[in-house]
Subunit: 149 residues, 2 copies
DNA sequence: ACTTGACTTAAAGTTAACTTTAACTTGTAT
DNA sequence: ATACAAGTTAAAGTTAACTTTAAGTCAAGT
C-alpha cells in the first residue's frame, strides 16, 4: 500500500507543506519519489510514528535530524542513539512531572473559582493559595538571605 | 520582604529581560515601582507561581494575558475564568496522555537499542516495532480505503 | 565630585518552526 | 486537445517568544 503526501498529512494531522518542510530538513529519509512526487509506503509508517512522538515531546528539529543522521550511519552509532534515547526519556519524565504539578495547581484553581462563584465573590477565597510548591519561591526558607558580595 | 528583578529572575530560572518582557506584555500586574525600579513583594509570589505553571503547560502569552485581564475586572468575570481554567485542565490532561504514550515508545526504543548493542547489530531487532499506537496510522484498518470523490 | 553597578525604556535583532507564494510539471477526466 | 487537481521547488513571509543593544537614571561607596 502506498500513500500520497496529502493522505499522510491528514493521518498525521499536519499540512502537506509541513511534511515537505520536514523532508527538506532531512527528517524523512528514504521516502521514494515517483514522477517527482513523494510516495509513502508502509515501511515509512514506523518512522512517522516515531517522528510524531519526537515532535510531541518537543524535541527540536535539529535534534531529530541528529538522530536521523546517526541512524543512517548504521550499527556504528547504536550506542550514541541509545544515549540519545535515554536522554529524551529523562526529558519526558521531567515534563510529565511538571505537568502533574501544574495540574494540581489548576485543580486548586477549579475549586477556588467554583467556591467563589457560589459565594458570588472572590473575597471568600482570595487569601487561600494552593499548597503545592511549583516554584523555587515556595522553597525559600523564612529566613532567606539575599546574596551579599 | 521585597525582592529585586534580579532575585526574582533567579528564583524563576529566567533572565531579568524576560521578566521585563512579561511585564511589558501585561503579565505582571500590580508590580510596584520604587524610583522607577520594579519591586516584587510576597503577595506577587502567588501570581508568579501560577504564571510559572501557565508557562509550563505551554499556554501562549496571549492566553495568559487574557486571564490576567479577566482577573483585573473582578467578580464579574469569575465564570469566564473558571471556564478558562477547565479548558486548560483538559489541555494538561491531553499533554500528559501524549507524553505517556511517547514514553512507552521511548521505553521500547531503549530495549531495542540495548538488544542491538548486545548483538552488535541492529539486524536482530529492526523488524520489530513498538506496539503502542500513537498515530492515526496505527488505527487504520487493514482494508483502509483512500477517499475517492 | 565621581565612578560603579544595577536598574530603566524603546527599538531592533534573533531563532525556530512553520506558511505562503509563484512558477512549473504531470496524470486523469471531459 | 484541453482543463483541472494535485503535486513539485525555491524563496520570501510570518509568528511567538524572547534577546540584545543603546542610551539613560539613580543610589551608594570612595
Amino acid at each position: 500500500m502506498s500513500y500520497s503526501i496529502k493522505e499522510i498529512a491528514k493521518i498525521m494531522g499536519i499540512t502537506p507543506s509541513t511534511l515537505r518542510y520536514y523532508d527538506s530538513e532531512g527528517l524523512l529519509p528514504n521516502v521514494k519519489k515517483v514522477n517527482g512526487r513523494r510516495v509513502f509506503e508502509d515501511k515509512d509508517f514506523k518512522w512517522l510514528r516515531v517522528l510524531n512522538c519526537m515532535k510531541n515531546i518537543n524535541m527540536p528539529i535539529k535534534k531529530i535530524k541528529e538522530y536521523v543522521k546517526l541512524a543512517q550511519k548504521g550499527d556504528a552509532t547504536l550506542q550514541e542513539r541509545y544515549n540519545l534515547i535515554l536522554q529524551q526519556k529523562e526529558s519526558i519524565q521531567k515534563q510529565i512531572n511538571e505537568l502533574n504539578t501544574c495540574l494540581k495547581e489548576f485543580e486548586f484553581k477549579e475549586w477556588y473559582y467554583k467556591t467563589a462563584i457560589e459565594a458570588g465573590t472572590e473575597k471568600v477565597v482570595e487569601n487561600i493559595s494552593s499548597i503545592s510548591p511549583t516554584l523555587e519561591i515556595d522553597k525559600i526558607p523564612k529566613n532567606y538571605k539575599k546574596e551579599g558580595k
